[in-house]
């Protein structure tokens, strides 16, 4: 029996989906602004982060209201709590995209003649992981979501390789040290985006299966 307040859950879902679209676009646009050293595009990424912040606040308010007034249980309860957590993860993806954009702006002013292959190596799988985790959340696909931690582990390894590579390059090309330091931080931001994608996947599993796999053997297994 659909209750008269069912539309409130639909609105909550819609806001999460909207936020997911925006955060994925923010990460993608931030990386594109780096690849093209496009300052205008980087500025847009920063400006558009406000929309993500607003949506996070709206989702918090809607979820808190639903909990207080509708007393959700079972699947409805999981949906509301996952909305609260996923919105936080999506907002953090936006923050990492903004952080990348700020560094792109600094690099645009100082140094654009630099090898970005390491960032491309980590960027492409990270963007793929975000899209995959968001798709799993939206589709309610816990099975596919279970594979995401493994992808995140690969991203972590690429970041570690990037870090070692940039440290070595700083020694070899000290004049470009500031730019390599920016790239170390950008690589770290991308690695964090992978972590947020993983957290969204873990929430998706909870949403669909009702199983909390955080800090459990299942998480470890899914990373192998």
């Amino acid at each position: 029996m659909a209750r008269f307040f069912q539309t409130e859950l639909d609105e909550l879902r819609t806001k999460i989906v909207r936020m997911a679209e925006l955060s994925a676009a923010a990460a993608e646009n931030a990386l594109q602004s780096l690849y093209a050293f496009d300052a205008a595009a980087a500025r847009r990424v920063r400006e558009e982060d406000d929309a993500l912040d607003s949506l996070e606040v709206e989702i918090d308010a809607a979820a808190n209201r639903y909990i207080s007034l509708r007393a959700p249980v079972a699947g409805d309860m999981r949906l509301v709590t996952v909305a609260l957590k996923a919105s936080h993860e999506l907002e953090r993806i936006g923050d990492e995209a903004t952080s990348i954009a700020k560094r792109v702006l600094r690099m645009c002013r100082k140094e654009t003649d630099i090898d970005l292959s390491g960032i491309r190596r980590i960027g492409e799988p990270a963007l793929g992981l975000i899209r995959e985790s968001i798709d799993c959340l939206v589709q309610g696909d816990a099975k596919r979501a279970a594979a995401i931690p493994r992808g995140d582990k690969e991203i972590d390894e690429i970041h570690r390789a990037n870090y070692a590579d940039y440290i070595a390059r700083i020694g070899a090309e000290p004049a470009k040290a500031p730019a390599y330091i920016e790239l170390i931080f950008i690589s770290k931001s991308i690695e964090r985006i992978g972590d947020h994608a993983t957290n969204i996947a873990v929430e998706t599993i909870y949403l669909v299966d009702g199983e909390d796999i955080r800090h459990t053997d299942r998480t470890k297994r899914s990373m192998q």
Partner: protein, 276 residues
């Protein structure tokens, strides 16, 4: 239902629009400095002041004996039937005192439908339950009565379930259906106000859900005041909530504020289930 985010939404362009802010409704029922006594000396309501907005649902909550039902029954002067009662202060509906000595109580009650805790259909057919008050008022034109029956039963979300057995006894209905029949009877005369005194306390969760959904629909036409012991029900169905304790109005505010951020510690303790 599906517990995923896969709603209409990810196919873009089909997003739910943000709800537009509702324009405030004028206050319809005004309670002013209202005190009420049983037996002349036993005071049960203390100097209440409260405005009930038009076409909204206002919930009265509070522990047993807090006076919420007494106030509800004051609005249609049902307490007049009790010997020895007296009141101070005033209650107005649309600017007119319900205690005006020139006002006929019958005409007041025509403007106010009432639904009780226990459904109380008359020992008559479904049809006759609805048209009873019209017949008493001397209206007997068949087409008019038929129209009232259908409108009232549709308004109470019962028409589809009973349209083929209108001549059968009302006692053959389920508990939830009987309560909706009583709501249909209450709205047959097109009142402006519906008073509901714990209308779901005798019903199972499914029937309760139907009545709550109905209340949500009915507020488009009626000003509704509901007394309930079920705080989740108050949270679900009402727009404004008044919390009473020992005959005093402790807090009255938007329902969202009462249940999310009450100002008074007593209200917080009550809605949190820590007393009462």
């Amino acid at each position: 239902m599906s517990h995923t985010f896969q709603q209409k939404a990810f196919k873009s362009g089909d997003r739910t629009a943000a709800p537009e802010p509702e324009s405030p409704q004028p206050d319809f029922i005004k309670v002013r400095d209202f005190s009420f006594y049983y037996d002349s000396t036993v005071q049960v309501l203390f100097d209440l002041n409260l405005d009930v907005p038009k076409q909204k649902v206002t919930a009265f909550i509070g522990p047993s004996g807090c006076g919420k039902s007494t106030l509800l029954r004051s609005i249609n002067r049902m307490n007049d039937l009790i010997d020895g009662i007296r009141h101070e202060g005033d209650i107005t509906i649309d600017g007119h005192s319900i205690f005006d000595p020139h006002l006929e109580v019958i005409s007041l009650r025509k403007r106010i439908g009432m639904v009780f805790q226990k459904s109380n259909p008359f020992p008559k057919s479904i049809y006759e339950n609805i048209v009873y008050s019209l017949r008493v008022a001397g209206r007997s034109k068949r087409s008019e009565l038929d129209e009232v029956v259908e409108r009232s039963l549709r308004g109470a979300a019962l028409w589809d379930e009973v349209k083929d057995r209108l001549k059968e006894s009302a006692f053959g209905l389920s508990g939830g259906q009987m309560q909706r029949l009583c709501i249909a009877r209450a709205i047959a005369n097109r009142p402006e106000i519906l008073l509901m005194d714990e209308p779901c306390s005798a019903l199972d969760p499914i029937a309760t859900g139907k009545i709550e959904d109905l209340i949500h629909e009915l507020k488009k036409e009626y000003t509704i005041v509901i007394v309930t012991h079920n705080m989740q029900q108050a949270a679900r169905v009402s727009d404004r909530t008044a919390f009473f304790y020992l005959g005093k109005l402790i807090e009255y505010n938007e329902t969202e504020d009462i249940f999310m951020n009450p100002k008074n510690p007593q209200t917080e303790a009550y809605v949190s289930g820590r007393f009462g």
